[in-house]
Amino acid sequence: MTHWTSHSSREFAYSVCLGFTAQLELEMQRTGITRAALAEKLNKTAGRVSQVFNDPGNLSVKTMVDYARGLGMKVGIIAYDDGDPDNARGPINPEVFVRSWEFAGCPEDLHEIEDAHNAASWNDFYVSSWTQKHPVSMQCVFAVPAPAYVTGTENSGITDVSRIGYGNGNITQEPPIAQNRRRSA
């Protein structure tokens, strides 16, 4: 049986919009922002915001940007080739792309990706990349195999790398670095 989005671009677009609103809902869940609060920020009715989340239809890019910006997020539209030209398997969860980017140290340009390739180890890259961007006094660093990530806080502009730990295999866990970057943005 073919994938449910393989029959028309309309269905594929609907799936993309549902994936997008799911990302917003995850962020709202994480931050505790309600639909009502988002509606107020966007100067829209709560009913309209609920409608977008319950049945996004074919959202315009402008609407996507408005909603994401309302939550302090940004939007990137990407095209990718997953070796499935007939779309037999359907689209990939957009969270996969976000997590991949975060686990790569949230590179902001292609040079950072190149640096990652050239680094002696993934962990070296991750730590050096993060510390370059966020001058810190390292308090406690454990040598760990990849993948690892850095946790820290960035209150009052003082960054404290309090722990470097293993990725624990729990794919539902967000790398804290992503939260830090969001806060510092």
């Binding site: 049986m1 990939i92 969270e95």
Partner: protein, 168 residues
Amino acid sequence: MPLTGITFHLVPGIRQGPRRMVGFLEGHRELNAAEEFDSLKENRKAFVRSSIELWASGSNDINERFHGFTNDTEYSLSYVFKVKDNNVNHRFYGFLCNPLLSNPRVRVCVLCIHARKGQHQTDRAELARVEQWRLSSAASEAMSAAYPDDLPSLGKGKRGEVLPWKTK
């Protein structure tokens, strides 16, 4: 096909994950999730399919769309997918299990029962029914048929049974 007539099949036409999969338990009048899913409007079906795909690909619970009951001591293995259609809130209740002893990382959400609910209401009666199905030999047999596993039992549980250490 199991002798009980209860069968399990994956939700068709969606991207199932290698580690997480979602399907319907069928073969009894109480097991109405598949039938009710089929009767949803196309765009509501798409919503549920999208939610299932998100979960199957490893997403966190999105409480407005799908979530477990991990803090509920009685029904910690129950799971629900939600969709709203105008003023009707559809709920698809099921349970989580690890059907393969040979690969305990494979987790399956077995959808059993459909219900119409108020906005934030979860009827524990539905969860109780799901739990009964989870513990039934008919469901266990259906899961064993759907996920044949040649690994001999290690004496730590029957095939299809959810072991406590697998629930964490």
